[in-house]
Chain length 462, copies 2
């Protein structure tokens, strides 16, 4: 497929500029201040799908942000690929750590990206990776090489739990009918070593509020005599792990799928340098559950992390106050067989139980999703591996990821089809962090690899 290579070379400046325009719109779904921008981004995605060659493109209203649906059906008897992606992005905070503004994309070179990388919120997650599919379609339509039917479903609430997507999928099973779902919203090992994500963790995300006295108090007059909600919250959070970093919520591990010694031995073969890992994060040591190594801790084991905490005086200088309330956002990454509804319930019950008498506790579930494991002997996996092998020169390695794309389990349940996670990002791309970026190499390589997936998927389906 030499044509795609030359097509990419010929159009790469335009491909980059189109993505940059998309990245300029701050589609932060978590913050209602950006709601018009989120909607504007949906419309930009819609226009790009029309332009790339979809025959039908629709803005589908939902209880939340719209879903952009597009399709090009060339023959009902041919297989259908459903491409999923999202046009919303994570909040850019903390703003002060960005070296260039998050919504003013610029290209900078890095050690890992000597050909340059686009720095912007959403560059990799997921505008850049989603847009590779739009450009791959453009190529297949322009070169008349689209070998099957294609549907696009691009949502705007992935970063806040995909509530409307679940609503939409449940109501549109016929419309979304497909033979395989293709998603680029994960990473690969390196630019020399492609990989395919075969497992994802589930997620339960909650917010907790601890209330002590009915107003902020002077810490001198009341200090020592009333429960301080911040101290109590710290104590409650601390108690959620034991000295071996096991999670202490009763029943939390009951349904965890334990891997066999063989499976763990297989995992241990993936290239990994603990020294490089620690150096990249500038930490003296790793930290986690006793009895498991780093690559297990972040993939096959469930976790509990505080994602945000706040309470009392956080300004400059000092304020001697006992806050009335303290808050935290807490997420649990789950592994296959753990049900996120059940875990959310176990957490809520336990967290409420451990509160001392001097405070009251409120737990608000934000969202969640089930974990997922995909088999590596499916046609979809094989087609993806063949595509990577052709463009990278080496076969892809299957890896279990610690991240969550909660809707993958939902797709399997509602649409009865398998998802293939063809990620082109790198761990170092700083997704969800300041200075998120996406390599130009990775972006163009993605556009080049995707049409091969279509080709091999159709060939293997025959």
């Amino acid at each position: 497929m030499e044509n795609i290579k030359s097509y990419v070379q010929q159009h790469k400046d335009r491909f980059i500029n189109e993505l940059i325009e998309l990245l300029k719109i701050p589609s932060v779904s978590a913050d209602t201040a950006y709601s018009q921008d989120v909607i504007d981004t949906a419309e930009a995605v819609k226009a790009s799908l029309s332009k790339a060659g979809c025959d039908i493109v629709e803005t589908c209203d939902t209880p939340g942000y719209p879903i952009i649906y597009g399709e090009k059906i060339i023959d009902p008897n041919l297989p259908t690929v459903l491409v999923y992606g999202h046009y919303d992005v994570q909040p850019p905070d903390p703003m002060e750590l960005w070296t260039s503004p998050p919504f003013e994309p610029v290209i900078k070179t890095t050690d890992i990206h000597p050909e340059g990388a686009i720095f912007a919120r959403g560059a990799c997650d997921d505008k850049g990776q989603m847009y590779m599919h739009v450009k791959a379609l453009e190529y297949m339509v322009q070169s008349n090489t689209l070998p099957c039917n294609v549907k696009f479903m691009i949502e705007g609430e992935e970063e806040v739990g995909s509530a409307s997507l679940a609503w939409f999928v449940e109501r549109n099973q016929e419309k979304l009918k497909n033979d395989v779902i293709l998603i680029s919203d994960t990473g690969m090992i390196s630019n020399q070593q492609p990989s395919i994500t075969t497992g994802l963790r589930g997620l339960s995300y909650v917010e907790v509020e601890v209330t002590g006295p009915n107003r902020d108090l002077h810490s001198g007059l009341y200090g020592g005599a009333v429960a301080n909600p911040i101290n109590i919250l710290a104590k409650m959070i601390a108690s959620l792990h034991d000295e071996d970093n096991h999670i202490t919520i009763p029943g939390f591990y009951d349904k965890v799928q334990e891997l066999s010694a063989e499976e763990r031995a297989e995992m241990a073969k993936a290239p990994f340098s603990l020294e490089k890992y620690k150096n990249a994060l500038n930490i003296a040591d790793v930290y986690g559950e006793k009895g498991y190594v780093t690559n297990e801790r972040n993939s096959i084991r469930p976790t509990l992390d505080v994602n945000g905490i706040w309470g009392g005086y956080q300004g400059e200088g000092a304020k001697t106050v006992i806050a009335s309330k303290a808050f935290a956002k807490i997420s649990m990454r789950l592994v296959p067989n753990q049900d996120w509804h059940e875990i959310t319930e176990l957490f809520t019950k336990h967290f409420t139980n451990i509160a001392p008498a001097g405070v009251t506790v409120k737990v608000t579930p934000h969202h969640g999703g089930q974990g997922y494991v995909t088999p590596i002997d499916s046609i979809g996996y094989k087609a993806a591996n063949m595509a990577y092998t052709e463009t990278f020169g080496v076969p892809a390695i299957p890896v279990r990821s610690g991240g969550s794309i909660p809707i993958v389990a939902l797709f399997e349940k509602e649409l009865k089809s398998k998802t293939i996670l063809m990620g082109f990002g790198l761990d170092s791309d700083a997704i969800h962090s300041p200075n998120e970026h996406f390599g130009i190499f990775n972006y163009l390589k993605g556009i080049e690899t995707i049409p091969l997936f279509y080709k091999y998927f159709v060939e293997l389906s025959k």
Copy 2:
């Protein structure tokens, strides 16, 4: 002294309006955004002292905010009273809990203040209480009844540790020479039961920063495998108290002055209703150090409270991030004989020691001060008690307060004189909290009582 009563009645509207004007200036010393306002407040205080009758009034430059010094020396052979107060105020946060804007003073009635109270940041702490002394001077000058010399020293950094005051006092011992120091920056039991604060707790205020990975991380990809600074901070904070709520910092209690059984029995006689206390704060139970009751926990025992905590995502919705850093502001209230420098050092050493290998810890001392106990057989105490007895109809009760006015110990050391704490505020005045207020009754009663202190102090000094 019936004249002061009628003078107050005659001028009360003006007294209230003058205080309201002073309260309109947002003199928040902790936040540099208000620095011009702090300076404007200093100038307003200066003008008020001139107008009240001081012969000399100076704006004394310091490394920080200026100190306003005023004096009226009528006869060098007569005793000299040094009045101390502060014109700076606590930050108003959380703003959204104020029922009227903190710097737009309004008079509202409450159950406790049927005659009305002025609602504004600083109404009680300490603009209102400080201004009573200015108006008491005005009366004594106008009525030609000032029986001794008076000096005023009003500072602008009390809420951030009085660093410049210490600097100023050390350099102006002769200028500040006095026979007794008079301060209204504390409370009394109720409007029917005056009290004099005879003990204050010391303070050590620090800020801690826990750093994990060198950037914010995706909690799915890294969760469970690296130390999460918020979880670690929570764990470290939780470990600072044991299950009996004793503080675990090695050496923390070594110098604590323990009260005798007799002294504790004496304290227990002070009127106190645990039910009313809990109801006023809307808490199901009190919480504190095992082996001590509420009124001991908040006065004769040292404490450790988190005054603020923050880290990670605190916005609307959810962000699945592992923050690079987490922060807390922590204050320890100390009791007599605990040295705040030593305690700050013990805290810093311990907090650094308990950090696990995956994080680094920085402890920044903010400020501190020593505790203090004043004898009740001094002339100053007796004069204050006689003054209260005359205006309230009942003698004042000596109480140990849990609050800190760190400079009281400094005054004793540098100026060799005792401080009398004539407070007119109430616990319910919400100082340091939203909706701080000061009763009109309390404000006017203070103006009425202070000249009597001068009278009796001079009589007893003869």
